[in-house]
Amino acid sequence: MKEHSTEISKTTLLWMYEKMLTIRLFETQANREADAGKLLGMHSSIGQEAVPTGICSLLESNDYVLGTHRSHHHCIAKGVELKNMMAELLGKATGTNKGKGGTMHIADINKGMLGANGVVGSNIPVATGVALSAKIKNTNQVTVVFFGDGASSQGSLHESMNLASIWDLPIIFVCENNLYAESTPYEYAVAGKSIADRASGYKIPGITVDGQSVIDIYKSSKIAIERARSGKGPTLIEAKTYRYKGHFGADNPLSYRTETEENYYKERDCIERLKKYLLSNEITNQENLDKIYEKSLESVNEATDFANESPFPAPEELFSDVYVSYK
């Protein structure tokens, strides 16, 4: 596969490599923790690392990201600490959400991660409001909301695209089309077969991009982010990607897809592709990539130790945080 030439800096390219690798190693370890019964099932993002990595490489630390039930990769790409993420997965007091939200609800406002959400399509209007806030307060912040092909059929997306368009909001709607809503293939559930095309009805640009190429994602989102930041309004990006695992832990994806298809996408693996690009263009060498691997693995291992050694929340935590105040 030939990647297009690009003007991405070496620093950014290596940052993207490290992020994608860290996501994969984190997810692999999180699956092990789930297999050990420390959390009961999770939605793995393995295979989809490139989409948030390419986009977040262009975001400022105070820009906003909102996610879905499958959001570990969004959080890591936006810079949420692995330690607090892993602790959250294990329901520990040191977790990003004090153990109250878990795998489907990781949020870290200080990093601009305004939350994963367990209800499909539910976060899209929320993100629209986040973008509205930035516009009214004139903060120059951009909001990125991730959702899947499944959510593209929810009214919430359509209502939000309309609102964002009439108000020229600084938001990027990013559909990670991993081809399946649970077991339902998008070719069945998405009329017209193109999610990007749905933008045209709302007079906003709709872009389809190879979601397994972090460089392509980078280029498309650069245009979208610049458009948002300059006050020209929203963009819809449909990134064609693939989840390697089932919908959740116990799901066997071969009940609805084929091994041939899985292999087709695994041969186009986003991490391997970037690695080939970096080596063939002599941007870096194998020795350096090995160092990045070791560093990523170490950070995941540290996070895992931290999470396992952390205490569970105290019983009274059950009652706190329901309200800011309630008297």
Partner: protein
């Protein structure tokens, strides 16, 4: 007689009703699975496997995978019912009612009344609920009380495979919109109930006295009936006589059975996994206070979770919902 699981019981009811009435269809996310892929028929059979195998028997026209569009397909269920079908719509988790509340509370519940009784909506909504899965606040709620608030909706909560089958069949045959709430813990229990192979219906609106007793009435709803029965075993071993009522139907509600029991035992605990405020437990407590006040030896006791969302962390989640121990503790307070 044979014993089957809760999931098999619901599945059998659906299969029989689809076989005997061509107007019965099923719609929902992954109720077949695999979309239109003919080589992947029955890939899922429903998120809780309640519809497993049905697409093979009845085809995709009657077992319809839907996009993730709850407002769309629940609303389509209302329309299809109004125009002559008997749709069963699967709303995966009850918390997702938020996406389609308009269709349930403004359309399904009100059409028959608003249209002067001239249009029926024989829609069945089945949905999963319950804590205990480490699934946090949006996938663990036990929400039924909120639906009992709306005139026009019938709400039923089975507690075992036997009544699950009979109630599911009754719901499909009922001419009003019925929501059947399936607790996920019950789906995971080993089959211990005898379930007839032939179809049968249970009356919607009738509670069942699971076991008679004279010292205390425990009122359970769905999974909490199971907990009440477990608690009653322990309490009986200590010499108390416990009556356990399985409420089964929340709307309509069998007030007579409740009042009669409380007048006899003079003490009552209502065990409810839904939120405590404006709950069915509060409603039952008010009913008892109004209609049996003079018979009571103690105020009606409610056991609910606290007024908080469902936490993720396992130790917090285990503190959250009513369990056997909290029932026994509260019962002893009343009995000793």
């Amino acid at each position: 007689m044979r014993k089957i699981s809760y999931i098999q019981a619901i599945n059998e009811s659906l299969r029989h009703e689809m076989k005997s009435n061509e107007n019965v269809i099923i719609m929902g996310e992954d109720v077949a699975g695999g979309g239109s892929r003919d080589d992947k028929l029955d890939a899922w059979g429903g998120p809780m496997r309640l519809t497993k195998g049905l697409v093979k028997e009845f085809g995709r026209d009657r077992v319809k995978d839907t996009p993730i569009s709850e407002a769309g397909f629940v609303g389509a269920g209302v329309g299809a019912a109004a125009a002559g079908l008997r749709p069963v719509v699967d709303l995966m988790y009850v918390s997702f009612y938020g996406v389609c509340a308009d269709q349930i509370t403004n359309n399904a519940a009100k059409i028959h009344y608003m249209f002067g009784g001239k249009v029926k909506v024989p829609l069945t909504i089945m949905t999963a609920m319950g804590v205990g899965g480490n699934k946090a606040a949006q996938h663990s709620e036990t929400l039924y009380s909120i639906f009992t608030h709306f005139p026009g909706l019938k709400c039923i909560v089975p507690s075992n495979p036997y009544n699950a089958k009979g109630l599911m069949t009754a719901a499909i045959r009922d001419d009003d919109p019925v929501i059947i709430f399936n607790n996920r813990q019950l789906m995971g229990l080993k089959p211990t109930y005898d379930v007839p192979e032939d179809p049968y219906t249970l009356k919607i609106g009738k509670a069942n006295i699971e076991k008679p007793g004279t010292d205390l009435t425990l009122i359970g709803i769905g999974y909490t009936t199971y907990l009440c029965l477990e608690a009653a075993k322990i309490l009986e071993s200590k010499g108390f006589s416990i009556e356990v009522i399985d409420l089964i139907s929340l709307s309509p509600m069998d007030e007579e059975t409740i009042i009669k029991s409380v007048k006899k035992t003079k003490k009552v605990i209502i065990v409810d996994e839904d939120y405590p405020r404006c709950s069915i437990a509060a409603d039952i407590s008010a009913l008892i206070s109004e209609q049996a006040f003079d018979y009571l030896d103690a105020p009606p006791k409610r056991i609910n979770p606290p007024h908080t969302p469902v936490p993720y962390s396992k130790p917090l989640e285990s503190l959250y919902a009513p369990n056997k121990e909290t029932i026994i503790k509260n019962a002893k307070n009343l009995l000793e």
